[in-house]
């Protein structure tokens, strides 16, 4: 019995738990990007995401890319500071930061659908242990389509048809001459 009590006393060491938190805020749009790129074509495509700060203090934002799109997609800037905004409920314009989303597709990529998300996380500019964070994300659907087929100009097509007709006609005429001989 005494041993049991001792175990209890030993295990009752103090544990302090602290989740550091501050005000967190973030605005974001668009919420999705749907991109289709032709297979077999080395492509550099750029889209833009707007990040807004509604909070009345500067914020620090980081962007991370998740999912199968991460192989082909980069963002610029990946990490940035934003000045203080007017505050929620004021109805005033917010400071915004355009983030460039770059799709860099190699020629040899296979026909497929790649998905993922560009996640923006707001963190306080001041240092310290971050306890709470606000996240917003942009869903990305990247479709690699079939290889583009070049259309032949109409006059080339017409010329080809005429040549084929002449060729057939000449063969028919030569056969008929031999037949009459």
């Amino acid at each position: 019995m005494n041993q049991q009590r001792l175990k209890i006393l030993v295990s009752m060491v103090l544990v302090s738990i602290c989740l550091v938190s501050t005000v967190n805020a973030l605005g974001l749009g668009p919420l999705s990007l749907d991109v289709t790129i032709e297979k077999g074509k080395e492509t550099d495509l750029i889209e833009y995401i707007g990040v807004l700060n509604p909070e009345t203090k500067p914020i620090h934002v980081t962007a991370t890319i998740t999912g199968s799109i991460a192989e082909f997609v980069t963002v610029d800037p990946q990490e940035f500071d934003m000045p203080a905004g007017p505050g929620i409920g004021t109805g005033l314009p917010r400071p915004s930061q355009d983030v460039k989303v770059i799709f860099k597709m190699p020629r040899e990529i296979s026909e497929n659908r790649y998905t993922g998300e560009i996640v923006f996380t707001q963190q306080p500019v001041e240092g310290g242990v971050l306890g709470t964070a606000v996240q917003l994300g942009v869903k990305v659907n990247l479709n690699i389509g079939k290889m583009a087929t070049a259309e032949m100009p109409i006059y080339i097509t017409g010329l080809t048809v005429v040549l084929i007709i002449f060729l057939i006609a000449s063969i028919v005429v030569s056969i008929m001459r031999r037949y009459h001989e």
């Binding site: 749009g29 707007g50 314009p93």
Partner: protein, 374 residues
Amino acid sequence: MKVLKLTLNQKKVVFFCLSIFIVIYLFIELSGLKSVFAQYAPVIQGTTANVSVSGFLEYINVTYYPVNFTGGGVGRNPGIIVQKYPQTYLIIDMTDNTNIAWDAYMSASDLIPVNGVGTPISPIRMTVWSDCDGGVQLPATTLNYNLIKLCEDIGFNRNFNLYFNLSIPVGQYNNTYYGNLTIYVNSSDASPGEGSNRTWYGPDNTTVKIIQHIEFWWNAATTPIDFATLTPGIGFTSPSANATGPSAGFPANMTVGDNTNIYTDIYIKGTDLFGLSGMALGTFNITIGIPPSPGNLTYSNATSSATWPSTIKFVNYTYQAPGPTYQGDFTNWHHVPNYTDVPSFWNISIPTLAKQGSYGGDVTAKAVDESTAP
């Protein structure tokens, strides 16, 4: 052939006459009498033609329209100020037959949403200004339904650039909007009647596309979410504590901001707690209760500490299965039932044999388009 032969006397007379002529000629040339004689010379006179050219304004010439605020991407977020794109200005001048200086005015209509979904954007959200190219420059001004003077005395062969800003209203619904633009020119030097003023109409010449936007605000607290000092649990009787009070992270309000223009869902998740002191304290799970195995950190949307439900301590109590209009919970993400102004209480239970020390961790909240995965 007859040859005129003069006698000697005749030759003398001719010589004499020539000499007299030469002397008189030289006298007139050298004495200035030529100008005196000239005034008595007969003159051929014409009539005077008086021509009066009236002031005339021909046509207004506008380059680089429409006034497109959409930008080069998929559209614009609400609650920001944007410029015309891709060229930042219009060029306005008068065609060649204009021969007088002129004043320029402008008015604009509301920007109306396509299919009527969303509220119109008033023209007073648009600001214009110009250097007026040597004319009298007026201050930057907001547009209106009525004509507003932008420049005075623009030279007849000059043109000016006109710059535009649009302050997109906070929370403006995602849609494409179109509005009309009118430019009016007149001159005090113009003759009355046609040519004394001109108007250029630009139907649907102001446009902007607004995209979906979420604004999310978590006022967790200005102080840490604090559970003070706890003792480890023993067996199944883990001690627990609520984070309540202004010094312990209460209240934690999650708010979808007024710049949001779609319906949203809010989710939260937690990380493991780890030792802050750098000691090998190990970690323990505070994942916020994935049903059927709730974690250590729990959440309730009770409205006050007094109503904190003693029997409801785990997030899984509020778990809802996915349905036609409700996405439910996802792996590691727990749905926050109400999407706005949710006071949050936090409760933690300490596992048995947790080592002494200070622990910290993260809780992340995420807002998403309604019915999509976090």
